[in-house]
Symmetry: C2
Subunit: 466 residues, 2 copies
């Protein structure tokens, strides 16, 4: 495993706070090794750094009570959702208390007329969409994992639909949060827009729990489109596929999803999902609109694809065929693992201006070959965002070192192209060294904000900031 920085522990404070919380929460505070370990990271190659206790609150007031107790004794507080974050966000490098929010999982209100809803942070995106379906509504952000909405906000998640519907930052109207001093605040109202004061909503989104714990979210919803058309098209090269994507976006086609799989990923999908796609770079698309509108979008894309050497273009509006294609996309992680049974899959993500995407992907593929690494790639290419899934033998120290080199090199490449070291996974522990390279002096003001709101550094310490 990759070593994570440890921070000094406040042993006496931790013991006292856990004692108080145990009295208060009884069986809803757990200290078994298994539960503690499960609440450190589970999805990265970074060492597990377990919290000292895990507490399961049922209400905002209980979260506030936990934070006040921890604040009084200067004990770290680490918010926890489904644990699907990818950069060590939930590790406890200074120990402390993990606050598992999954029992706060109620949909509190759906305002269909206003296209919004109010949810607790432990509601998952699939639960929410199941809840909404009967009302003809959906929440569009889909990061792949069935993550909790609180966690998705905390990491500024996005995923396949972002090219049309934006990221979490665009789909949260307001938040309720418990701040580092235990105060409960509401960052906004239910109006669709506001110019009232500093945008604390956006400040908490992507703060990865370092500035407060999100305890309630008011989310913007969408009507389920009348028609959904899916399409796929194969391309001779990544460059040709990216050119087609650029033209599609520039042409103003309101594509809802546009995903790129490189040849290695297509090979994995064919084997795992029983498909027989040409094993060259592939675009998977989805179009939302009226019957005729969605069909027209697909047709126009087909024409654009043809200009860039696209072949095997196929569009469908039947649910079954569409689901098969997107299921294969969602299963890519498992499919890719089968390319090298026994290997660990480490997903890293960058995002670059779309004009640099083809170059960035091609150089990334070459770099993996040069280092002797297996790294199939999938991307939310409408945004210039892609993931390399490194397939690593974690027992081979040399290979792990090469993989670390690869990740660092890729982050620096993306930054040099005016891109970012993380499009949607976040900084957590894993990408901390790159934040300052990307944003320079701006990080100083992030640190100043952190120090102002959380002077004792109790909220998810050791994340994001240097």
């Amino acid at each position: 495993m990759v070593q994570a920085t440890t921070l000094p522990r406040n042993e006496a404070g931790i013991e006292t706070a856990i004692g108080i919380l145990k009295q208060r929460f009884g069986d809803r505070l757990q200290t078994s090794a298994a539960i503690r370990e499960q609440h450190g990271h589970t999805t990265t190659w970074i060492d597990n750094q377990s919290p000292d206790a895990v507490v399961f609150p049922h209400s905002t007031d209980e979260v506030a009570e936990i934070v006040r107790t921890c604040a009084a004794h200067k004990v770290p507080v680490i918010p926890f959702g489904t644990g699907t974050s990818l950069e060590g966000h939930v590790n406890a490098p200074a120990g402390g208390v993990s606050v598992d929010l999954m029992q706060m999982n109620k949909v509190l209100a759906v305002h269909a007329g206003d296209l919004d809803c109010v949810v607790q942070p432990g509601v998952t995106r699939e639960d929410l969409n199941t809840h909404l379906r009967d009302q003809g509504l959906f929440f569009p952000i889909d990061p792949g994992a069935n993550a909790s909405l609180g966690g998705m906000a905390a990491t500024r998640a996005s995923g396949t639909n972002a090219v049309r519907y934006g990221t979490m930052k665009d789909n949260v109207l307001s938040l309720e949060a418990v701040m580092p001093d235990g105060q409960i605040i509401r960052t906004g109202q239910r109006a669709k827009k506001s110019s009232a004061g500093y945008d604390l909503t956006r400040l908490l989104i992507g703060a990865e729990g370092t500035l407060g714990i999100i305890t309630e979210l008011t989310l913007r919803l969408q009507g389920i489109p009348e028609a959904i058309t899916s399409a796929r098209c194969s391309f001779p090269t990544v460059d040709a596929a990216c050119q087609a994507v650029m033209m599609t976006i520039q042409y103003g086609i309101p594509v809802a999803r546009i995903e790129l799989l490189d040849d290695m990923s297509v090979r994995a999908a064919n084997a795992y999902s029983g498909l027989s796609l040409p094993e060259t770079p592939l675009l998977l698309l989805e179009f939302h609109g009226s019957e005729s509108g969605a069909a027209e979008q697909a047709e126009t894309f087909g024409q654009i694809a043809g200009e860039f050497g696209g072949t095997d273009f196929a569009a469908t509006s039947t649910t079954e065929e569409r689901n098969k294609l997107w299921q294969a996309r969602h299963d890519m992680y498992w499919a890719c693992l089968q390319l090298r049974p026994g290997a660990r899959g480490i997903s890293t993500d960058v995002c670059v201006p779309i004009s640099c995407l083809a170059d960035c992907v091609t150089r990334t593929q070459n770099k993996a070959v040069e280092l002797g690494l297996l790294a199939p790639m999938v991307g939310h290419v409408g945004d210039g965002n892609f993931h390399s899934l490194l397939l690593i033998d974690m027992d081979d120290a040399d290979e792990v070192a090469k993989a670390e080199t690869f990740v660092g090199w890729l982050n620096d490449l993306a930054i040099s192209m005016e891109g970012t070291c993380t499009g949607e996974h976040g900084i957590g522990q894993g990408k901390r060294p790159y934040l300052e390279r990307e944003l320079g002096a701006a990080t100083r003001y992030m640190s100043a904000i952190k120090a102002a709101l959380d002077p004792d550094n109790i909220m998810n310490p050791g994340k994001i900031l240097p």
Copy 2:
């Protein structure tokens, strides 16, 4: 005029800083009464509080030099664009130096392939769109006034297109800014999305110059749609019009503009712009898409409107007719002033969940009648945002007092409906009393951020925060 709070002046510091800046900037620092007064507010009913000097920088480095000089002597710095803000944002209640950014007016880069551009803060939205037109691109945010893009970001502006394209917060990829200590930072790269660290971009957007001066903006652009269809439809009541709007939004029609004029506004438009619209509540709409897509949207809207008693529905895709309609909308301020020649027009804005809009507008109209005030209303109703334009005899103290009562009552009504006291105008000086009523304890954390980044309170003091 309405009295504005004054703040203590640092006379010695102001004199010293202006002396230093005069040496450095020569004729680009002005202290004449006319220029100083022009750089206090020009568009509100709040007393003019002129700065002590106005300086006209040409570069980010010059802005940084100005801020460093003012910071060293604890002198207020007030950023200035076109002066079209509506809540006293550019007043100088503690004196100080107005930084007029209108000579920083270059479009630095257009990346057509990436649908973004980089501009200086003094570029106006009309200048930018003129610059972009040949490349088939446009910047969608249209707050009415030909405002500067720096000012639009600082006030989190939006306007007629927001229902489809969002507000400034959704259309800025990153900013360069000079912070209160004179440090130049960049808040992000050119990637379409990022999860790297705290969202300083969104923190500066809407901060009204209280946390730093925006010196460069990277903006998201749109392709000019293949087809634009405009439509209008009259309704028997505001409620019927709002019901039609709600259904249109819920139906998922990607309407680009949907504006409501009440009967008094329609009467004003008829008289001023030589139209002959039925003098009942009116919706003006615009649809963007392919030829068939835009036409289909208009047709679907027409059917929805019919269900809610809409009459005189007319759609057009000819540029001339479209421009005539939207010119009338843009001229509403002048048209309404003609309803009461000699009166001052005071625009106030609130935004509520769309399900509350009809009720909010109707009660607002009744309240104006009750107080004997003339207050035609226009609204960006797709967002639940509307403006009352109070037509006031500023020499009649009783009427001014009633108008103040009206504005306060309206803000409280909007807040009570889970809405906001300002959808797009900002807090400035005028709405400061309402911010805490709306956001409660959250304002404390805004103050903490302000104190951390600007400990001497030199950046646009007396704005936003209590």
